[in-house]
């Protein structure tokens, strides 16, 4: 949708605030919004989480299916992540097939989970060459006030930690807890008014430029990166946000691991 005039006013406003080291909602540059994480809240999902960051609210539900393993990896299960941005969650979200934005979010969340190795796909094997579990991570936006990336990332790992493999329902053994060995955490930054900030809200997203998503695992290992939207950034800017990401990721990891 074309938004020609007002965003320019918004951009000017955000730039003016940034020049005084301020943000529109009064937060500091690396400060996140109020956060709450709840797990085990959806009766039909084998694992679930609800994450609220300010007025951004998301659910994540974990479902399992049986599948035949790929011939080259006969003892490994599968992992799939999808992110749904339904028009329920905001007036800016159009109905229709998945938008490029929702596909991008799903894939970035997927990479963070997958590459961290928090799920050992060999743990998903039931009968080698015949039957393995597929883990499906469905991220679902309820209210989009910005930074769905981090909300989805957090909800996904929290829901995985809370999941049970439904062996009995599929008649392949007993129910057991899904083994999740690590806690990858995504932190997202966006350039707003000429400088990067953490956890941009919707207003900052509309009036901001490029964003950078960093997923860190144990020991600050980097598992996924994504630069999105138009804009350039320097190596020194990247070093700065990486420093902020390390600090925030370890704080968030403590929250998820304590659930």
């Amino acid at each position: 949708m074309a938004q020609p005039l007002v965003p320019e006013l918004l951009r000017a406003h955000l730039a003016e605030l940034a020049s005084r080291d301020q943000r529109a909602d009064g937060r500091g540059q690396w400060e996140g919004r109020d956060l709450s994480v709840e797990v085990g809240i959806l009766e039909r999902a084998e694992g679930s989480a609800r994450v609220q960051m300010g007025d951004t609210i998301v659910f994540c539900g974990i479902k399992f299916q049986l599948q035949t393993p790929y011939p080259d990896r006969p003892d490994e299960g599968g992992l799939m992540t999808s992110a749904e941005l339904r028009p329920l969650a905001g007036r800016h979200i159009e109905p229709g097939p998945p938008s490029p934005e929702s596909i991008e979010i799903g894939r970035v969340v997927d990479r963070g989970i997958r590459e961290s190795g928090c799920i050992d796909t060999k743990d998903l094997c039931i009968i080698p060459g015949e039957k393995v579990w597929q883990v499906i991570i469905d991220c679902f936006a309820i209210s989009d006030d910005g930074n769905l990336f981090d909300a989805f990332g957090l909800a996904a790992i929290a829901a995985l930690h809370n999941s049970t493999l439904p062996g009995e329902r599929f008649d392949v053994g007993e129910d057991r807890k899904l083994p999740v060995n690590k806690t990858p955490i995504m932190c997202s930054f966006q350039k707003v008014g000429g400088r990067f900030v953490y956890d941009s809200n919707r207003e900052e997203e509309v009036g901001g430029d490029e964003r950078i998503h960093i997923t860190l695992g144990e020991g600050d290992h980097v598992h996924s990166l994504q630069k999105g939207l138009k804009g350039v950034f320097s190596a020194s800017e990247f070093v700065e946000i990486m420093g902020a990401a390390k600090q925030r990721c370890s704080e968030l990891r403590k929250i998820v691991d304590s659930l």
């Binding site: 959806l42 039909r44 007036r91």
Partner: protein, 240 residues
Amino acid sequence: MGYGDVQMIDENGNRVDGRKAGDIRPIEIELGVVPVADGSASMRWGTNYVIASVYGPMEAHPRKIQRQERAVLDVRYNMAPFSTTDRFRPGFNRRSREISKVTSDALESVVLLELYPRSKIRVEIEVICAEAGTRCVGLTAASLALADAGIPMTDMVVSVASGKINGIVVCDLNKEEDNYGAADLPMGILPNSGELVFLQMDGDLSPSEFQEAWDYNMDAALGIHKLMKEAIENKYGGGQ
């Protein structure tokens, strides 16, 4: 075990979850659950969990959908992928389309659309957790979300279904009962006038069974309406 063989009601008339024939499942209503929307509501109804949000009235675009004399309603009913026991695959779905349409038809009958010419009101219904009767929960939650958005309506819509199990007519079937149910009669009722804006039925009901199911729905609707009014009064202060 064959269809209809399972005993779902005991000799004392108690159903599998302990309810009597005319009882509905527990209901919890919350308004304003989607902070970025103009109005929103969630309903927990048994283990159903449905969220509805409303955006608008807003400019209707593209212009070809505009109506000179009234607003258009754009209603969507959808099931989240994790809302069902087996994952519900996202995408086009004939069932969801039909429910969206009949829900829209019901809401168009009460919303004072002529107050907002050339505009559009979006109503979004998402089933987060499905048990049985999601279309009824969706329609009821949508009318709550419209009220929360301050959109004038002639009445609320209360939707509830009755059905038949083991040859006995019961109100508001749960998932287990629904699996063995022999009939389903969902209705959308205007509690103040007793008129209907939504009606579907499938299965097999004798004339007397049909009347019984109809009466159960009418009675249940009044009880549900009380809960809806309470939720609205709790947020906005008492009316009338």
